[in-house]
Amino acid sequence: MTTMTDPPGQGFRLSQLIYDTRYRSLTIQIVAMILLMLLVSWLVANTITNLHALGKDFDFGFLAQPSGYDINQRLIEYDSQSTHGRAAVVGILNTLLVAFLGCALATVLGVIAGVLRLSNNWLVSRLMAVYVEGFRNVPLLLWIVLIFALMTESTPAPSAFRGDTPTASMLLDGVAVTNRGVYIPAIHFASPFFESGMYNWLIVLIAFAASVFAVRRLGVWAAARQEATGDRPTTWYLTLGILVLPVAILFVLMGAFLDLPALKGFNFQGGVHLRGSLIALWLALSLYTGAFIAEIVRGGILAISKGQSEAAFALGLRPGTTMNLVILPQALRVIIPPLTSQYLNLTKNSSLAIAVGYMDARSTLGGITINQTGRELEGMLLLGLFYLVLSLAISAVMNVYNNSVKLKER
């Protein structure tokens, strides 16, 4: 595009820097840039002076040094001889674990509560309103502390399960809720394919993923048949078979058996030990976030005007089909953006693990490591970076999903 506006014979004037729209934005940005640089350099200079005065340097070498502290909850091999770096990874994995579990349970709770709140059963909708308002309006920290206190104060000690007339009993003979945590049965393999348990589970996971994929193909096939012939073939038993059989066969081949927790000595042995801290954090995060998700789900369904379902009914669609084909595709579009921010909130709120002593990223990298090495600056920087990357990653994944929902809509 040509520019034209300069009257001929007039050179550049200094006032043009401010009054000419072509230069004005550049001028403002350069001034802003200079101010920003000044601010940043002032902060950096202060930091350097302060670090120097304290005799510290800026160095991430501490990550390779042995940590010297233990972590009771770990997903990978770790002991007190491991490095601070590995401790950080253990913490990060713990954060991811509770965030993942929390998002999953919160979604389930939220969807159920949101749908039930719209139920025309007066009692149920009131009850759900009490749940939603109760959890939303009380700080999450209080819920975490409260549920943790419930776990530790109101549950029986392992010794209560002992004796001829125990005061506590296990649920279904496999689950023991004690004040030291919850013990649930574990699945072990008698004739595993690999030495390391992780690879065996990986195989199961791959088999299951393949099943899910196959089920989706089946759905596509059914839709194609429906388009071609007008009849949708019944597929539910095929779906069930594809989902269950491969995993079941794998279990049989590897000789899977249940390892039930049993009271030995002063404590339970065997099974999987879920610590009270994990459970309290998980439940509190899920219940709290679930209340918010319920409101989002309710809002999303309400946002689809009544006219949409009436139009679908008028066309003769049944309520179930209406929900699947008309309401949900539209509601999802409304629900997903706020749902994303709830997932982000839950992930960030998992840092409240500090209240129950769950060893997440903040407690290892941003807690004990900092205390032991005195590397506040480096530790907090890495911690902040971790949360930032995690937040961006969740946003990115949900954006991809959101776009796929949007495409379906057209």
Partner: protein, 438 residues
């Protein structure tokens, strides 16, 4: 079809039918119960399940709460009274801890004889935001709003009255610079002057002026240290200060994020996203561990002030997003009309765009405040005594060692009442705005 038409006979109604009651099965309690609780088998199951849940909860909680013991000085005394009245097996609440310690939960270790000061400050705050929320109140009340922050600061922290007055004077100087010098030296110059003059005044004159005045006219209240403040008072101070102080920064960030200028836009976006991407608790630890690194050597100030600074930065990012929503909700024609009338960017923002955008944003700001108010409980981790921190402190005392639920219930109820009513208010505002917008 044509047949029916042919057979239609002209008809004129001779008597009008009166309104009748619906049949019994279609009205009253029977219909209500049938429709709302028992219309389908699934509904019946849901009703029964709900009744069971309600029964389980109430049968456990109600006796515990209702038969609670209000008059005791320690948990052991509570238990003794319980054993005497209900027997040792009974599970009853010991509300005595609330009746004995409630002032502490509300005010922390603030001197009891001075409780009136924070209470007055809070009442003042309510009076100060009234003219912002209700247009019908006289505009003169905005003067009260302008003065309120200084008076509230003075009431809560105490000390000589001249300190806040001298600080407030700086703002008056800034305003005077714009108002009197503005017409002569132009907008840009007067804004520059309005920033430079007050800063110079605060750095050089304000301190000596305040101490001088206080020696001449020693008017003041007894000082209260930050570390004595706790409980809900602390949560309110941090929450209110955080939101009020973050408004200007949040508005600037929102405008920055809307700006076409590449650098301004990107800096705003990065600031907002970084703040929002990292949990508040990490920022609070940053405030307590790192803030001193970034400031000139020797600067050392109060932990509470550091927390307020950090919370302000934190909530400004959230406020910015709320205000951005308000800006986006505004019709493009408003910007165009302002342009067409010859208003420049700042004037059109100040006179046309922001007044409307902020009004739309008020419900969002209230919601942000609710979130922040709940989040103030996190300050317990850096050593401030928020309500939950105080409950730990009370539990640590010998009289009340081992008491959990009564404290949690009290704290939870206080938060609930506050947050729930605020939430309802914001919902009401939202509905009102939607009505007006139509």
């Amino acid at each position: 079809m044509s047949d029916t038409h042919a057979q239609t006979v002209a008809y004129v109604r001779d008597t009008m039918t009166d309104q009748r009651e619906p049949p019994l099965s279609q009205s009253g309690a029977y219909k209500w119960v049938h429709e709302n609780m028992l219309s389908t088998p699934l509904n019946v199951i849901l009703t029964v399940a709900s009744l069971w849940v309600i029964w389980v909860v109430l049968s456990h909680v109600m006796p515990w709460a209702i038969f609670g013991i209000w008059d005791a000085t320690s948990l052991s005394e509570c238990r003794a009274i319980r054993d005497e009245i209900y027997g040792a097996d009974a599970s009853v609440a010991c509300w005595a801890v609330i009746s004995e310690r409630w002032p502490q939960l509300l005010f922390g270790f603030y001197p009891p004889e001075m409780y009136w000061r924070p209470v007055l400050a809070f009442v003042l705050f309510l009076a100060a935001i009234a003219p912002i929320l209700f247009n019908s109140l006289p505009r003169k009340m905005l003067w009260l709003t302008a003065a309120a922050p200084f008076v509230m600061f003075w009431l809560i922290w105490g000390g000589t009255i001249w300190g806040p007055i001298c600080i407030a004077l700086g703002f008056v100087i800034g305003w005077a610079a714009v108002h009197f010098a503005g017409p002569r030296i132009g907008a840009l110059g007067s804004i520059l002057l309005a920033v430079v003059l007050p800063v110079l005044y605060w750095l050089v004159i304000a301190g000596p002026l305040a101490s001088g005045l206080s020696t001449i006219l020693p008017i003041g209240l007894e000082q209260v240290a930050s570390r004595d403040m706790g409980g809900f008072m602390l949560a309110l101070i941090i929450g209110i200060a955080g939101i009020v102080l973050s408004l200007p920064l949040g508005i600037v960030l929102a405008l920055g994020r809307q700006s076409d200028l590449f650098l301004i836009n990107k800096v705003s976006v990065i600031f907002i996203e970084v703040i929002r991407g990292v949990p508040l608790i990490v920022w609070l630890f940053t405030a307590s561990l790192l803030l001193n690194y970034f400031l000139p050597p020797g600067t050392n100030f109060d932990l509470m002030l550091r927390v307020i600074i950090m919370v302000t930065l934190f909530s400004s990012a959230y406020i910015a997003e709320v205000v951005r929503g308000g800006l986006a909700a505004l019709h493009k024609g408003q910007y165009e009309a302002a342009d067409a009338l010859g208003l420049d960017y700042w004037k059109s923002m100040r006179l046309v765009v922001l007044p409307q955008a902020l009004k739309i944003s008020i419900p969002g700001i209230v919601n942000t405040f609710i979130g922040l108010f709940k989040d103030t409980t996190l300050v317990v981790f850096i050593g401030l005594l928020d309500p939950i921190g105080l409950s730990n402190a009370i539990r640590a005392s010998t009289q009340w060692n081992g008491i959990y639920w009564e404290l949690f219930v009290f704290i939870g109820l206080c938060f609930f009442i506050f947050c729930f009513s605020m939430g309802r208010y914001s919902l009401f505002l939202e509905k009102k705005l939607r009505r007006e917008h139509r």
